[in-house]
């Protein structure tokens, strides 16, 4: 056994040796660091590499899924860059390098779309560090970033110290890039044999790229095509009225499309009107809404629409076309002058009815007093299709006044021409094209306008078809909303009819319909006295360049039998309401 001093001496020597060993093993900080080791990239080699035999045997399609892997022995991979060449006979075409960050989440927050880095970015590693070190509790920022990525537009990386020029990102196409190391690409394959070369390279955390990208070459078969057709389109028996600006009541002509595409079940459509030069952008929408803005001059109301489809592999179908008929009403031109058409639906059939010439005279005088003397045309309705203004004729008038006034006590259907069938359709089309209608009303209006129950609701804006007072009870109207009281003309409505009109309806307003007059009941019938009858509907204004929604004033009783001075005041207010006059 050694004595204590000797034991301490050995311990001291061992400590010195150990310390020397430790110091000797330490790296000398003054020497240069080890060089960064280059990242490496490998492809999982799907599809099989480059043999024509494999290509034929596998029947390779233009859409291929590729996988790749990156390694970095002294760091980690922050992103991948990939591109490919299509080696056509006409010469190669290449895509630019696309950079995807090697991140599937932001600090654990799952990404809806992976992060694609702008080609202008100076440092992929810097962007990687930002997105991988976000505060996981800052949900607001994470959601905001995720939403911004989903927009598909490039945005500057919001570094806490401010943006760095060039450092911007966007969301990658989620169908094309499912993972940072997986891509589903469509290779343009127009020819019988199509050779492609795909390259990918990893980027490490020092922003160093793999100098030798992993690459694979392969063949694809020509892309099978698709066939498109029109699944639905407007009828061609009549020319529809359409406007340059779509409105709620005149959205344009709608065409629907369909396609036979057994290869990809996913296609875009593009369409063009009257020529094959001005194609719409490719869209998944299997429909087109054609407004007058798309029409080209053809010399008639017949036009053509052309359609082509493109499938997921980029194959474009043959063009198909169909014809349709459309006209643009003259009033769609904002500079078109204001003109009024008076349509007299009263029949001139002799004794017992209202003399249509007297009626015409009465209304002409009234409309002259409203300042329409130089801008008024008249139309006496006759039997047959030519007896009522056509759509085109109606479309040249900014306002239309319709009267269907009959003798009250002996009313029968032969006294006036009904607004039915094609007459009603033309009037509806005119309204839907932004027309203005003032309707004097008529007794038993439910009979006078075919399908009145729906018309009253949809066009006049009554809550329903209303209630008819069958008795000789209507003694005039009480005005509201700026309209005057309208008294009956005792020279026309005489003691023979108890100074009253029968078969007048009351009606309640719907939506933006407004009551303009109340029923004055001779007998003070509580079901009718002071109940609403006339209505106005003022269509909303859209813009100075566009035709607005139609407007209507419905007086709900035949004005011919009313005091002329009252009618003039009421008619002036009606023209103001339909935005045709600034008077009275």
């Amino acid at each position: 056994m050694k004595n204590a001093p000797t034991r301490y001496r050995y311990t001291f020597i061992a400590s010195i040796l150990l310390l020397g060993l430790v110091l000797w093993s330490c790296e000398n900080p003054s020497s240069s660091p080890n060089p960064n080791m280059l990242p490496e990239t490998r492809l999982a080699n799907v599809p099989a590499d480059d043999t024509i035999g494999v290509y034929i045997g596998q029947g390779t399609i233009p859409e291929q899924t590729l996988f790749w892997v990156g390694d970095d022995q002294d760091g980690f991979i922050v992103g991948y860059r990939y591109r490919w060449f299509n080696l056509h006979q006409q010469g190669p075409e290449s895509t630019q390098w696309n950079t995807i960050l090697n991140l599937a989440s932001m600090s654990g927050f799952p990404l809806d779309t992976l992060i694609q880095v702008s080609p202008t970015a100076a440092s992929v590693a810097r962007i990687y560090r930002y997105f991988s070190t976000l505060n996981p509790d800052d949900i607001s920022l994470l959601e905001q970033l995720d939403d911004s990525l989903a927009s598909g537009h490039y945005f500057a990386v919001p570094y806490p110290t401010g943006p760095v020029p060039g450092d911007s990102v966007r969301g990658a196409d989620p169908i094309q890039i499912e993972a940072p190391n997986k891509g589903n690409f469509i290779f343009n394959s127009p020819a019988d044999s199509n050779l492609h070369r795909f390259e990918v390279k990893a980027i490490d955390n020092s922003d160093v790229e793999d100098p030798t990208p992993a690459a694979v070459s392969f063949w694809t078969l020509p892309s099978p095509g698709l066939i498109v057709r029109f699944a639905g389109q407007p009828g061609v028996s009549t020319a529809a009225l359409i406007l340059r600006c779509a409105t709620e009541k005149n959205p344009g002509l709608r065409f629907t499309f369909a396609a036979i595409d057994p290869s990809t079940f996913q296609r875009d459509y593009s369409w063009s009107v009257d020529d094959t030069l001005h194609w719409s952008p490719w869209s998944r929408d299997a429909f087109a809404t054609v407004t007058a803005a798309y029409l080209q001059p053809t010399g008639s109301d017949t036009h053509s629409i052309y359609l082509q489809g493109r499938n997921r592999w980029g194959v474009v179908s043959p063009i198909v076309s169909t014809r349709f008929r459309a006209q643009v009403p003259a009033i769609d031109d904002p500079a078109w002058p204001h003109r009024t058409l008076f349509i007299n639906s009263t029949r001139y059939t002799g004794a017992g009815n209202v003399d249509s010439l007297l009626s015409m005279s009465f209304y002409t005088e009234v409309l002259d007093s409203c300042g329409k003397r130089d801008s008024l045309d008249t139309w006496l309705v006759r039997a047959g299709a030519a007896g009522f203004p056509s759509r085109v004729q109606l479309g040249t008038y900014t306002s239309v006044v319709v009267a269907a006034d009959v003798r009250i006590s002996t009313f029968n259907g032969a006294a006036v021409f009904q607004i039915n069938g094609d007459r009603r359709t033309r009037l509806q089309d005119y309204l839907n094209a932004g027309g203005k209608l003032i309707y004097s009303g008529s007794p038993d209006i439910g009979f006078m306008i075919s399908g009145y129950a729906g018309w009253a609701v949809n066009y006049l804006h009554y809550l329903n078809a209303g209630v008819v007072n069958t008795g000789l009870d209507f003694g005039g109207s009480i005005g509201t909303e700026g309209y005057p009281n309208i008294r009956l003309d005792s020279t026309k409505v005489t003691a023979d009819s108890s100074y009253a009109i029968r078969m007048i309806s009351i009606g309640y307003p719907r939506g933006f319909g407004e009551t303009i007059s109340l029923f004055n009941s001779i007998s003070n019938n509580p079901g009718f006295e002071n109940q609403p009858m006339g209505i106005r509907y003022k269509g909303p204004f859209i813009s100075p360049e566009c035709r607005s929604i139609y407007s209507i004033v419905h007086f709900a009783f035949p004005l011919y039998f009313a005091n002329k001075s009252d009618v003039i005041q009421a008619m002036k207010q009606a023209f103001v309401d339909v935005n045709e006059n600034s008077i009275p």
């Binding site: 409105t247 009541k249 809550l463 309640y508 307003p509 719907r510 109940q531 909303p540 929604i549």
Partner: protein
């Protein structure tokens, strides 16, 4: 000199601790009260959607419902205080609170949104989480008229309204938030589109 005993050491220690303490004055003011009232501006659209009082004979009232899920005031630095339906309330109705924007009380800035004790200071923002519930229902003497409303995208459920309101100790500050229906509603052919526009129309100290 005699040795210091345990008692002496305790006295010395307490003295050292006592001398090393610094006396602070802590401000603990009495809270003020912040009350939020609601007003609705409706001029342009008044023809179609007028205000009305509750008709006790028919049990009807014109209606445009608003449901409010949250109301709070904020100071700079994101300091916030929730405002409930009364001073003694501890939370809002989990289903939200309903208000009728066409009540005459809304026309008169008298619809009561909430009240709370708050620390004295200046409050810069009021945050309202609310949405409109359609349709607009109008009772006229003859029938019920309904006008649908449709929100314009993007959907916004929470609105930050600048108020710049000062609350003083033991005083009540009343903020009136106005829903501007003229600005919010866009008339279409048969219905309204809307994008809610709020602003603080007055701040008053009582």
């Amino acid at each position: 000199m005699s040795k210091l005993n345990r008692y002496h050491w305790l006295v010395i220690l307490a003295s050292v601790i006592g001398l090393s303490c610094e006396q602070y004055e802590y401000a603990s003011p009495t809270p003020g009260i912040l009350e939020v009232r609601f007003a609705v501006k409706n001029g342009v659209n008044a023809n179609y959607i007028p205000f009305s009082a509750f008709d006790t004979s028919t049990g009807t009232q014109n209606r445009l419902a608003m449901i409010m899920n949250r109301l709070d005031v904020r100071q700079s630095g994101n300091v916030k205080q929730e405002i409930y339906a009364s001073l003694s309330a501890i939370r809002r109705n989990p289903d939200g609170d309903f208000f009728n924007c066409l009540d005459v009380a809304a026309r008169d800035s008298n619809l009561f949104l909430g009240i709370a004790y708050v620390p004295p200071g200046t409050y810069s923002e009021l945050v309202v989480s609310a949405s409109l519930i359609g349709p607009i229902v109008i009772f006229n003497p003859w029938a019920v008229n309904e006008i649908p409303i449709n929100p314009l995208p993007p959907y916004v459920g929470s609105f930050t309204i600048p108020i710049n309101a000062t609350v003083q100790e033991s005083r009540t500050t009343v903020v009136v938030v106005t829903l501007d229906l003229d600005q919010s509603l866009i008339q279409r052919a048969e219905d309204y589109d809307y994008r809610i526009v709020y602003y603080a129309s007055s701040v008053q100290q009582l």
